[in-house]
Amino acid sequence: MTYAIEGWFAVDADGVVLLGTRCAACGTVCFPPRRGSCPDPRCDGTDMEVTRLPRRGRVWSYTNAVYPPPAPYVAAQPYVPVTLAAVELDGAGIVVLGQVAGLTVDELEVGMELELTAGPLADGPLVWMWRRAPGAAS
């Protein structure tokens, strides 16, 4: 499978994980992965280690795209509205945006638990996506 972007997520035995960076000096995590310097201006750290971010989190907010987004997005034919969720990752203090697989806006709520998965864009390559977390109350 081709990834729509290299180095931002991985699919392995543990499932799908987002790859961020962690500052070796102060521990600040970052997504997407960052090189060169810590995003905290009070930290001198330059060593950004790749880190696997928590796979679960709670919905900060959500929306959808009722009309097909413009290029470079490749919309499915026929078009099905894309659902988007911004999810606050457990314990990481960071909110990450992604498409949502298998849920419409009517099935989402702020605070609901989601987990990471991956799914194909309409032209084939894989991208990270959110889905309902197994075992979580909806």
């Binding site: 987004p69 990450v96 806006v105 605070g111």
Partner: protein
């Protein structure tokens, strides 16, 4: 020379080209606005020492060198120029460049121009394959348009504060009523709550009439040193540019901003005292030496109806969660205690990116000069304009008289 809160820079003239979708080159709108501003100020183009153009990125090379484009359109005079881009905050940065040069004593008279010509439909990223550009990637990987981010903020507001689609529709009704009275606005019809709620859903929970359009338009201001203005215009109600805030976020920014994929992490460092939007306005208040309680009116960036409610709180007109109450009480409508977007806002104009912050300044100035016609805020003495450009650009201005 004294600092910016006391004396310094005066808005001597304003000019606009009506907003719309006329499909003409952006420079025509800018030129028309510039001529109108010069005429309003009662100065000749040949007297202008410094021209700043706010750039447009969708109109080829002339758009990236807007200062030169307008200087050439007006006729080369040898005036010094600058061009700048800061997304929706471009106009504020252009104003800031001009006023800073005046405050530094390097010139007395400056012209600031912003104009845009926009394609139909959603704003899309600039063309070409650019996987290092987050603005390109958010479309490519997620299909996340600008309205998608507005939808996220709106849904978050509903969850935090119990806002409803009726509240959002009421913002549009209010702003359309003001816009109907503004000859520069693109949309000049009043609308009903029912019409807003019956318009097509675009980015749940926001409907077509909750979201600002993309527009053509142009706006310009003539700025002058106070000493020049006094010699030139006498003591007639000078409108002072008391503050320009172009601040950036403070780490960690805990709000998901356009065009980002994620927030900063606040796990290892505490969030700042004020979220970014509030910090933009606060910096302007501090520089002007006044507070939200001193304002007669505010122009805020209603990219969506819901976002006007967020801004109303962020600029300090009420505590978080209480903007709906102000709206329902009529306080933010024309004739209310503190009118918000008396111009009609983006709801009535649509967005002409580099012109928008300049247009906000035009509205504040016209209100303080008491010539806003049927939209006049009685006895207006102080106004705030607030705005935010993607990639972390703050934009706020305070004018006083």
């Amino acid at each position: 020379m004294s600092g910016p809160g006391s004396s310094g820079v005066v808005v001597l003239g304003t000019g606009m080209h009506p907003w719309g979708k006329q499909g003409r080159p952006f420079a025509e709108y800018g030129l028309a606005a510039a001529r109108a501003a010069l005429a309003d100020a009662g100065v000749a183009w040949t007297d202008i020492q410094y021209l700043v153009g706010a750039d447009t990125i969708r109109n080829g090379y002339p758009g990236f060198v807007a200062g030169a484009t307008y200087a050439q359109a007006l006729g080369w005079t040898g005036a010094r120029i600058a061009s700048c881009y800061a997304a929706c905050a471009s106009g504020a940065q252009a104003v800031d460049l001009a006023r800073t040069r005046i405050l530094a004593g390097l010139c007395d008279l400056a012209l600031v121009v912003g104009a845009d010509s926009t394609p139909k439909g959603f704003f899309a990223p600039v063309g070409g394959d650019r996987p290092d550009d987050p603005d390109w990637l958010r479309f490519r990987l997620l299909g996340a348009t600008n309205p998608a981010y507005f939808g996220l903020y709106a849904r978050r507001r509903m969850a935090l504060h119990g806002s409803t689609p009726y509240d959002f529709a009421a913002v549009k009704v209010k702003n359309a009523r003001a816009g109907a009275l503004n000859p520069m606005a693109r949309y000049r019809k009043t609308v009903t709550t029912e019409e807003v709620l019956a318009s097509p859903m675009v980015a749940d929970p926001l409907r077509l009439m909750d979201i600002c359009a993309t527009s053509d338009g142009g706006a310009a201001v003539v700025l002058a040193s106070e000493s020049y203005a006094r010699r030139h215009a006498g003591a007639r109600g000078l409108v002072r540019l008391a503050a320009v805030s172009t601040v950036t976020p403070t780490f960690p920014n805990t709000v998901l901003e356009l065009p980002n994929f994620a927030t900063d992490s606040w796990a290892a460092a505490p969030p700042p005292e004020r979220p970014f939007r509030a910090a933009i306005a606060y910096a302007a208040y501090e520089e002007a030496g006044l507070g939200p309680e001193d304002l007669s009116l505010a122009e805020v960036y209603d990219l969506s109806t819901a976002l006007e409610l967020d801004w109303t709180e962020d600029v300090g007109l009420c505590p978080p969660g209480e903007a709906e109450k102000l709206l329902r009480d009529g306080a933010t409508a024309l004739g209310g205690r503190i009118p918000v977007n008396p111009s009609g806002g983006l709801a009535s104009f649509g967005e002409a990116i580099p012109a928008q912050a300049v247009a906000q300044l035009c509205e504040l100035t016209d209100q303080l000069r008491g010539r806003a016609g049927p939209r006049q805020v009685q006895g207006a003495r102080a106004g705030l304009a607030a705005n935010q450009g993607l990639f972390g650009h703050g934009s706020a201005m305070v004018v006083t008289r």
